[in-house]
């Protein structure tokens, strides 16, 4: 079953049209429609090795992410990773990964629309995050490639540090919580002269 190519389906991201008034020192945008696949596999096992070979790099260890590759990999838990790639690659990557895994016990699930991504950057980012995140994200403890699944305010997020400080971070948030998180971020910026 394939989509009719004559009809180009319209899709809408959870934060479509989001354009908050932010203070100087913080930028925020949604990175919509990323391909996101949830991988469940025993760490260090045959499936993890097969996936690493398919991707061309090893799966990251606890609280880290493998970034700046065609498929970025986020550690979500001891036997769980999120594979993130450009839009519209879910079918191809799922098929490729499942073929690589073969009959071994591992699972790949398309969860692309489960979460959206907020890309945040700027000198104010450490302050804004500190209003809602209990973790120590200082440069010594959280270099680029740090990845935590945690709470930001009352929303569960997977936070990826892309530049230490953090000066750049991606927040993966459940689609239904995206509006709340966006509103919380905008409100957090009032303190710093937003709007």
């Amino acid at each position: 079953m394939t989509a009719d190519s004559s009809l180009r389906p319209v899709r809408t991201s959870p934060l479509a049209g989001w354009d908050p008034a932010l203070p100087p020192g913080l930028s925020a945008r949604e990175v919509p429609f990323r391909t996101q696949l949830t991988l469940r596999a025993a760490p260090g096992g045959a499936v993890a090795r097969a996936v690493a070979e398919y991707l061309g790099h090893p799966l990251p260890g606890p609280c880290t992410a493998h970034l700046d590759t065609e498929v970025e990999v986020l550690w979500l838990g001891p036997d769980e990773w999120l594979l993130v790639a450009a839009p519209d690659r879910a079918a191809e990557l799922t098929a490729g990964l499942r073929a690589a895994i073969g009959d071994a016990f591992g699972s790949v699930t398309d969860t692309s629309a489960q979460r959206t991504v907020l890309a945040l950057a700027g000198d104010l980012l450490p302050d804004v995050l500190a209003h809602g995140c209990a973790l120590d994200l200082g440069p010594a403890g959280a270099p680029a490639g740090t990845c935590h699944t945690t709470l930001l305010a009352q929303a569960g997020v997977t936070l990826v540090v892309r530049e230490a400080g953090p000066r750049q971070a991606w927040l993966f948030v459940r689609s239904s919580f995206a509006g709340y998180l966006a509103a919380w971020l905008a409100d957090a910026c009032v303190e710093y002269g937003a709007g």
Partner: protein, 951 residues
């Protein structure tokens, strides 16, 4: 306007600026740097409040957070109750009044912002007095992250209120230099106006920063007025200082009776004389500093009354030089005065009140010794020990990551406090393997004071009940006689006495009264206070407004609002929303002029006679994958799932180990090794966690993976006899006939160019489909279905109609029709419980005698006999038309109740004792002082044969 008690040459207030304020209706002025208390004292106002129980006049006792008396209500710019006048920084336009123990909250919402912020450090130093500053300076040089807090607007602690020297210069110069250095250090976070109010597990310290309170009406609106800092430090040094404590004697509560150190602080920090003629009553050396400083500033010191038999030579000489009479071995036995102390009665301590004589004065300055401020250290599980030389309790020793320094450690000289601060920071950082370069100890006074006398109270010379005019806790109006009554009633523990007398339970947490109470209990019991100990110290050490705790979690951010991908469409089409957990779900879609009943009737009719659609995206969805997935589901669901063929769907019930219904939903077999199951909206996370728990803790041998896909898929139920036509219209080549696309099966198709999974599932009894697409496409697909259905009158419907439709079919809502005591059998669903499976979670319980009783509560339908009364959900069911005398036997209760368009009547579902046996009976539901007759019916009321399922 004159402020007669302001003295030249003293104080840190800015006299170049004047602030106008109003207290108890009278206009006064003060200066920047004043507190409300210092400004009042500068104007000669001592009486600021009224005792809560006895209504006696009360004055300002202290100069800081330990103030037990001077509670005020701020009225403007925004009402705030129960603040201590000694900690309210003065601002222009302040309007306040004194309180008799109870304040009032504003009737309007607080317009200020409040927030919270997390902070991480290697070292947290609480208190920026001499020890804290020395500790922070020591750590600052290492580059480690240091946080330094202080309640006051500026650093210095006790140095702000004394007249000491460091390195041969006035101590303030050292404080200023230290502050400059710490402010400039990039690794140091210096927070003033910030009070650490709790030390919690794993060294989480919470602190409240009052950021703009002191600006009054000029506070910028965008800044958080107060902030709760959540500080995690690897090492903590509590340099929290010490609090002077009073001595109890008769009429010790009159305005003008204050702590000796407070009078000294008002002089040095605020340039305020607390009176013209002072008497000083002390058990130790420290009050002499106050007496001498006040005398030098022009106050006539009428007498120093020292309870110790001999006065140290140095002090008696200094007093003699100033012409201050010193009465060694004497005590204050009582006071006179109306609104203010006017005379102090003194007598020889061992003279049983004989040869009593009076000393006229307008202030009485008292010092009963010093208590280290150990509340935070104690909260961190630090132990205390009694120090006989100091006549108080001091920290027993450092913990692995928590230490005390300075006066909080029981040290009494500036030199020792500075050295202790350096040592504490060095020890803390060394414990973290951070190298600390040796830091020279600044030169300061190290001459130890003479031993203090342990004196808790002076026995009353009057006839009558002893201690009946001696106040232990001024705020609670708790007397020495109350303590004696407690011990007389047999109480032996200071904890019990605290609760019996309320001593130490007020806003000040017993800072001045707690140890005093311990001492008096010890006296009453004839035991040693060392053995008795103190009451526990609990957070918060200082009152914190609920608004500060709430922070930004208010209004729209109070609780996350979760919305589906279709939310905007629902809003544009006039939906009203219902809160289901954190979700906003469309409740119903009223047309102009429609009531809720009208709208729901119309929506129900469309679903039963035409076609309707709803947003079911909030259903929990879990992908279950792995070779053992079928086996896993067989163990959890009451029925068999492993026999499902790919592409087929089965309804299932999950029970807890107690056999009670936990959740329900559908299970779709996607392929041999993959199932997709749905959960109820509210239980999605709980079911996933519960399944993971079984998998990880009980059955780790099963090769199964669980992945939440709740928000990946949008789910659109398309419902009604014409739903097939709509589906056929939007798909190309999908055989939608009942034979080709049977009930409880799944077909993949393309709708609006989107790959869709369509399942034939019905939660209404009608022909129905569930269209599942990745949620990005939800709006496109929904719109395509809506457009295709327009010629057939397709009607979007909400949760209310969904509830009516499912209730007509007796499909239970877990959590509404069940409450954790209901089995599948109670719901009339024995068919969903497998008799073939050897075991599954909950199975054992089904064989219990209790589960087999015929008189369990069972799900039935109730039909009000009049056909139109809508029973309230939760209403009780009784057997008789008239309500008998209590206790009234209750047979059950209504769980769901609606008006049915299809049945043209009202109806309800209920859990009814022996419900199955009662079908056909008439029972009664008390309502508004009458009873409503109801007929008990089989729960399924509509289409009992299930004829409508295939359209």
């Amino acid at each position: 306007m004159s402020t007669p008690f302001r003295v030249a040459g003293h104080g840190r207030v800015d006299r170049s600026a004047t602030l106008a304020f109003t207290f108890d209706g009278t206009a006064y002025t003060g200066h920047p740097g004043d507190t409300l208390a210092s400004a009042l004292l500068a104007n000669g106002v001592h009486r600021v409040a009224t005792g809560i129980t006895y209504g006696r006049p009360r004055g300002i006792v202290a100069a800081g957070v330990e103030e037990p008396n001077a509670l005020v209500q701020i009225e403007a710019p925004f009402p705030e109750p129960m603040l201590t006048a000694t900690t309210v920084e003065l601002y222009d336009g302040l309007v306040a009044r004194g309180l008799g123990g109870r304040g009032r909250l504003a009737a309007t919402p607080d317009p200020a912002r409040y927030d919270a912020k997390h902070l991480h450090a290697e070292l947290l130093v609480v208190g920026a007095g001499p020890a804290g500053l020395a500790a922070a300076l020591t750590a600052a040089g290492t580059g480690a992250r240091v946080v330094l807090l202080d309640s006051a607007p500026e650093c210095g602690g006790s140095l702000l209120g004394t007249r000491e020297h460091i390195d041969g210069r006035p101590a303030q110069e050292w404080v200023d230099a230290a502050t400059r250095r710490l402010t400039a250090a990039p690794n140091v976070t210096l927070l003033t106006r910030t009070t650490a109010f709790g030390h919690y597990d794993d060294h989480l310290v919470l602190a409240l920063e009052k950021r703009t309170d002191h600006l009054g009406a000029a506070a910028p609106r965008h800044l958080a007025r107060q902030r709760v800092w959540r500080i995690r430090a690897r090492q903590v040094v509590h340099a929290t200082g010490a609090t002077e404590r009073p001595v109890a004697f008769d009429d010790n509560d009159r305005p003008g009776i204050m702590l000796a150190s407070a009078a000294r602080t008002y002089l040095h920090r605020y340039g305020v004389l607390v009176g013209r003629r002072a008497t000083v009553f002390t058990t130790n050396d420290s009050a002499y500093d106050a007496a001498l400083d006040l005398a030098d500033a022009g106050v006539e010191v009428a007498a120093v009354v020292d309870a110790r038999p001999t006065v140290p030579e140095r002090l008696s000489r200094a007093c003699a030089e100033r012409g201050i009479p010193v009465h060694a071995g004497h005590v204050v036995t009582g006071t006179s005065g109306v609104d203010r102390v006017s005379r102090v009665h003194i007598a020889e301590r061992d003279g049983r009140g004989a040869r009593r004589h009076g000393v006229d004065c307008d202030v009485l300055l008292v010092s009963g010794g010093w208590n280290p401020a150990v509340a935070l250290f104690s909260q961190a599980r630090g132990t205390l020990r009694h120090d006989a030389g100091l006549a108080t309790f001091v920290p027993g020793g450092p913990l692995a990551a928590v230490r005390t320094a300075g006066a909080a450690d029981g040290l009494r000289t500036l030199g020792a406090c500075l050295a202790d601060g350096i040592a504490a920071a060095t020890a803390a950082l060394t414990a973290l393997d951070i190298a600390v370069a040796p830091v020279p100890v600044p030169a300061a006074d190290t001459e130890l004071p003479h031993p203090a006398l342990e004196l808790w109270r002076v026995p009353s010379p009057r006839d009558g009940v002893d201690g009946a005019a001696q106040f232990v806790d001024l705020q609670r109006d708790a007397l020495v006689s109350d303590v004696f009554r407690a011990t007389g009633a047999g109480l032996r523990s200071v904890e019990h006495v605290k609760r019996y007398t309320t001593v130490g339970t007020a806003h000040d947490q017993g800072r001045t009264s707690g140890i005093l109470a311990s001492g008096i209990v010890a006296e009453a019991l004839g035991t040693d206070v060392a053995d008795l100990g103190t009451t526990s110290f609990r957070p918060p050490v200082q009152p914190v407004a609920f608004a500060a705790f709430a922070g930004r979690d208010r209004g729209d951010l109070f609780d996350p609002v979760r919305v589906t991908a279709l939310h905007a469409w629902h809003q544009e089409h006039g939906a009203l929303f219902e809160d289901i957990g954190q979700w906003k779900r469309p409740w119903y879609y009223p047309l102009p002029g429609e009531t809720m009943d009208d709208a729901v009737r119309r929506e129900c009719r469309a679903a039963r006679t035409g076609v309707a659609m709803m947003d079911g995206s909030t259903l929990g969805k879990i992908s279950v994958q792995g070779p053992d997935a079928g086996c896993f589901l067989d163990r959890l669901y009451t029925n068999v799932m492993s026999t499902l063929k790919p592409g087929r769907i089965r309804y299932g019930v999950l029970c807890g180990v107690d056999g009670m219904v936990l959740d329900d939903g559908t299970v779709l077999r996607v392929s041999d090794g993959e199932f997709l199951l749905t959960t109820t909206t509210g239980n999605a996370a709980k079911v996933l966690e519960w399944m993971e728990e079984w998998l990880q803790t009980e059955w780790p041998e099963l090769r199964v993976h669980l992945t939440s896909v709740t928000e990946h898929w949008a789910t659109i139920p398309l419902v009604g006899p014409r739903s097939r036509d709509v589906l056929a219209a939007v798909t190309d080549g999908l055989d939608v006939t009942a034979d080709a696309f049977p009930f409880m099966s799944r077909r993949d198709t393309v709708i609006a160019g989107v790959e869709a999974r369509v399942c034939r599932i019905s939660f209404s009894g009608e022909l129905a489909y569930e269209v599942n697409v990745p949620s990005w496409y939800a709006t496109s697909v929904w719109q395509a279905l809506y457009d295709a259905g327009r010629p057939l009158g397709i009607t979007p419907y909400g949760t209310e109609t969904m509830h009516v439709l499912r209730a007509e079919k007796a499909y239970p809502i877990i959590g509404q029709d069940t409450d954790g005591t209901v089995t599948p059998q109670d719901l009339g669903m024995s068919w969903v419980v497998s008799r073939k499976k050897k075991d599954f979670v909950g199975r054992r319980s089904f064989g219990r005698a209790e589960n087999l009783r015929a008189d369990r509560k069972q799900l039935v339908a109730l039909l009000p006999v009049d056909g139109h009364t809508l029973l309230p959900e939760g209403a009780q069911i009784i057997a008789t038309e008239t309500i008998p005398a209590p206790p009234v036997p209750m047979l059950g209760h209504v769980t769901s109740s609606y008006r049915s368009a299809a049945l043209e009547r009202t109806f309800a579902l209920a859990l009814l004792r022996s419900g199955s046996e009662r079908v056909g009976e008439t029972l009664y539901v008390p309502l508004d002082g009458r009873t409503v007759a109801v007929t008990v019916a089989e729960p399924v009321l509509y289409d009992k044969e299930g004829a409508r399922r295939d359209g």
